[in-house]
Symmetry: C2
Subunit: 191 residues, 2 copies
DNA sequence: CTCCTAAACGAACGATCGTTAGGGTCTAAG
DNA sequence: CTTAGACCCTAACGATCGTTCGTTTAGGAG
């Protein structure tokens, strides 16, 4: 993919994140690149292509984040690292992450189904961390892992709305995890 | 507000939630109501009005939910009830809640600022539950309430994406709260 | 029967939408 | 000097957008 084409995708992701897919016109995009709108069609076949590519980039980034989590650690640690990875992707690729999380639903046809499969796979990988942790005793054995993964993934998925691009995401993830690990109530024995 | 006008707002919220504000045309809306699109302008002044009203209904519903939380309970209980209230609003008024959480940003002019103020107020009320709880000793005194409220509100705000309309939201809120209260790690003394 | 009101009709408006077509300019390699 | 390819331009296409407006319809009240 040519350098120009990459720039196009990046700018498209930025505008889609800022104004939404349907709120961004090809004309807006062309203006942002200092070009006539017809010129864009030397690089793309349709506006949908740009959405699709941004979503795919997001999927790749999130999965790559999980790939880097070592699998020889206790479940708690792996969850903490997975949370770190997720928040880092959101902060470092905020536009792409926003499109992945919020604008994907304007994908048409097979591409919407493709996204859903990709997202389900991501959630499944997350869920496995909790399930394994419970089964191996790293986490409490009576853990409601269904609810736990929903809680964590919800927080992760909502992060794009408030995470500043320059945030210390590792520290933030650790703070979230600390609450998640021992609770807010304070009857827990100190670690 | 006439009955017809109320119906219009409800249908608009439904479509905005389903296809997004910019993804819904006045023509779509008219067709859903079995009417010519020009006819809608006997009831509204602009498409923006419909968005604004849906957002305001959402704000009202969420605040009303918090209003019903008794203030003579320990902080933990109040948080649990606040979570119940929030999820109940999402499930019972899914369309309006979705527009409030996701589509508000297409509000123009002063109305966007008005929304932001309203949301900030809601978050502040939530935050107070955690802060008070920590200060009074209902919650652990070393609680990171900033992170805690972010975690809870994130989960609450993301709920519209997965909450089925017929879910038992009270039970779900309690399950979330149970995890939040004692953590996932299992070193907590049983309650 | 007449009057009033709420509601919808149907045609049209200017603007903007995504997309296409054909031609022009530059650069770098053969 | 020629060729190829990347990049962009201008002009236009049919479709759809939100909105306006004068007219029509239906039902209830007087």
């Amino acid at each position: 993919m040519s350098a120009r084409r990459t720039e196009l995708t990046r700018e498209a992701a930025r505008l889609f994140a800022e104004r939404g897919y349907h709120g961004t016109s090809i004309g807006d995009l062309a203006k942002a690149l200092g070009v006539q709108k017809g010129s864009l069609y030397a690089h793309i076949e349709s506006k949908q292509d740009l959405l699709y590519e941004a979503v795919r980039e997001g999927a790749e980034a999130f999965h790559a984040g999980l790939d880097a989590v070592r699998d020889d650690l206790p479940a708690g640690e792996r969850i903490r690292l997975a949370l770190r990875a997720h928040l880092r992707v959101v902060a470092e690729q905020l536009d792409v992450a926003t499109v992945f999380v919020r604008e994907w639903r304007y994908l048409e046809g097979d591409r919407a189904a493709e996204f859903l499969a990709e997202r389900r796979r991501y959630e499944e990988r997350f869920r496995a961390l909790f399930r394994d942790g419970r089964e191996r005793g790293d986490l409490r054995t009576d853990l409601d892992d269904q609810a736990a993964v929903l809680l964590v993934l919800s927080a992760a998925n909502w992060a794009y709305t408030w995470l500043p691009a320059d945030a210390d995401t590792d520290e933030l993830a650790d703070r979230f995890y600390a609450i998640l690990a021992d609770g807010i109530r304070g009857y827990a024995t100190p670690r």
